[in-house]
Amino acid sequence: MNARIESEPGPVKNRTTVERKSDREVVVTRTINGPARIVFEAFTKAELLKRWWVPKSMGMTLLSCEVDARVGGKYRLVFDHGGPEPAAFFGTYVEVKPYSRLAWTNEEGGEGGPVTTVTFEEKGGKTLVVLRESYPSKEALDAAGTGAAEAMVETFDQLDELLVALGESSGQ
């Protein structure tokens, strides 16, 4: 795929890039200013993960965050997104290699959910984070796009609109 979007680099802020690798894969990259060990901890410790996974600007509140980052261990994040029911995101860790690699399933959409793989590569005190969301097959991806999952997309779209509004009003 050629579609690729990058943000402008700021004085301290690094660029986040998103790329469609195929019809069933999206790859996000970003360099984080810190060693891989600490970045890895921020991904795998609940008290740290909950500080960044849901930026305030997303308009969602994290109600609970449970993380058991061991192979076969589970995670569960519950959000209040302003709807009648809170939304839960949950799954299982399938790969946990301290400071270098992490993979988990996304099971909230039922079977055929994507697997998220994150690699951490340290260079000169900074860490390149490569996050890959990969569906087991094109069919699984198509199936994931129906029902509850579609509703979720709409929710996120609404959030994006809210985000823009908030960004404008706060002059960011």
């Binding site: 795929m1 921020a42 997303m58 198509d142 796009g145 579609e150 979720m152 996120f156």
Partner: protein, 121 residues
């Protein structure tokens, strides 16, 4: 922990992953054409071109209409901007998330350095 990809967009991305199909879109952007015209232009069999057009049609990027014995193709109601907008929204979401991660990691890294200095004293 993931944001779902809308299926419709994914069909488009799949449709756009092929150089011939991108070429067909470009061609149709200039003028409508029949499947025969397109097959000739891209030096391809009619069957092959029909398949490509079928994929583009499914993604809503092309519409076709049978006039007599000829099938005319034209650009569909969807445009590439939609795909780009989707990617940008996706990117922005991750960008914000990683900005927050940067803050957390920065704080922890500083704290560790402070602690190291203390321990050395």
């Amino acid at each position: 922990m993931v944001q779902y990809l809308p299926t419709r967009l994914d069909t488009s991305f799949a449709a756009l992953s092929d150089a011939t199909r991108r070429g067909v879109l470009e061609q149709l952007g200039r003028a409508d054409a029949s499947i025969t015209d397109l097959a000739e232009k891209f030096r391809m069999t009619l069957t092959g071109m029909k398949k490509h057009v079928g994929v583009l049609e499914q993604a809503g990027l092309v519409t076709t209409k049978k006039i007599g014995r000829v099938r005319r193709c034209q650009l569909g109601p969807r445009r590439l901007e939609e795909e780009t907008a989707w990617l940008e929204r996706y990117r922005r979401r991750w960008d914000e998330r990683f900005d927050e991660l940067d803050k957390v990691v920065d704080e922890l890294t500083r704290k560790e350095k402070r602690d190291e200095r203390k321990n050395r004293k």
